[in-house]
Symmetry: D2
């Protein structure tokens, strides 16, 4: 993912956009684009794959910029969180259930 | 990123959670977690780095699951979108401006 | 607010849109429109008042439709929640602080 | 709705919370609470009515504070927006369709 992040950063630097990319603004960006992604499913489960893919790319772009700004490796934070999830949701208790961990 | 996706999918499969992971539900997941990320910045630019990183990981996890469900490579869709952004925002017009492309 | 809700419901009924307005879809609508409202503040505190007002109206519209669908009075639920907030955030502890109640 | 807004403002003033309530922070509040509302529907259409009502109240509370901060009447902006919607979606074209106006 780091070469993708580098490509995004190059395009950003060329446009002198880093000045807008505070952690807070990037978090807002993630939320705004997540709303556009959700809009693809406003009225139900059917969707336009191209549009979904496009909005997903926008969410991911802001996520990668935020990870970079925080100085963290996006793959590493996902794996760390996955380890926590594995502990919070033991297979024998969580299997086949969408219940939140504190209600398992 | 694909080995990270595989780790998430393994944990998901062990818990028989794929049944909950329709595209629509994953898009809702992205939006919900994006809201929790934004909450780290509810009252301003200061933030708890660990908490932000943790919420970012949740957003990314749903993004990777959604990309996988759609059968697309997350890195590829980001790069494709970046190419579009580069076109929509030519350096000479967009430099140092946060204006939306249709108002440049 | 009930006469406003009635006006929205009349416009909805004329267009046979009730079929799309499950609680879940209305909640998605609230979230999507909240993202558009947030977009007015993507890059900072300055905003276009007309645009903000317009997006706020969209969020409120879905909120009123959802309250109606749930059979609850929006004013009453807000006042009930306010009573809870008053208890969770006693004036002497919460005054001048944005800290969450469980950390006060 | 204005007496409800007044009750919220009184509780806010007692706690000296107005300092946190910039338009931008209130818009973030709407988005964050909308995410919590959506979470009630994370895995499908079934929901806990009390929880939904509670989260809806939070969204509405921030909406009313934002309307007040903007100096607009929430009922009036909703009705204004409804007039626009009626025009954009003529009954004969929009009836029974969830299509966006620019694709009707």
């Amino acid at each position: 993912m780091s070469s993708v992040t580098n490509s995004i950063k190059a395009a950003t630097a060329e446009r002198a956009w880093e000045q807008f990319h505070s952690e807070e603004n990037l978090a807002k960006g993630v939320s705004i684009e997540a709303g556009e992604l959700l809009q693809c499913f406003q009225w139900g489960p059917d969707f336009d794959a191209i549009r979904v893919q496009d909005e997903l790319a926008d969410v991911l772009t802001y996520c990668l910029l935020l990870a970079d700004k925080l100085g963290v490796d996006p793959e590493r934070v996902v794996l760390q969180k996955l380890a926590t999830t594995r502990e919070k949701y033991p297979v024998d208790k969580a299997r086949g259930r969408s219940t939140k961990y504190d209600a398992l």
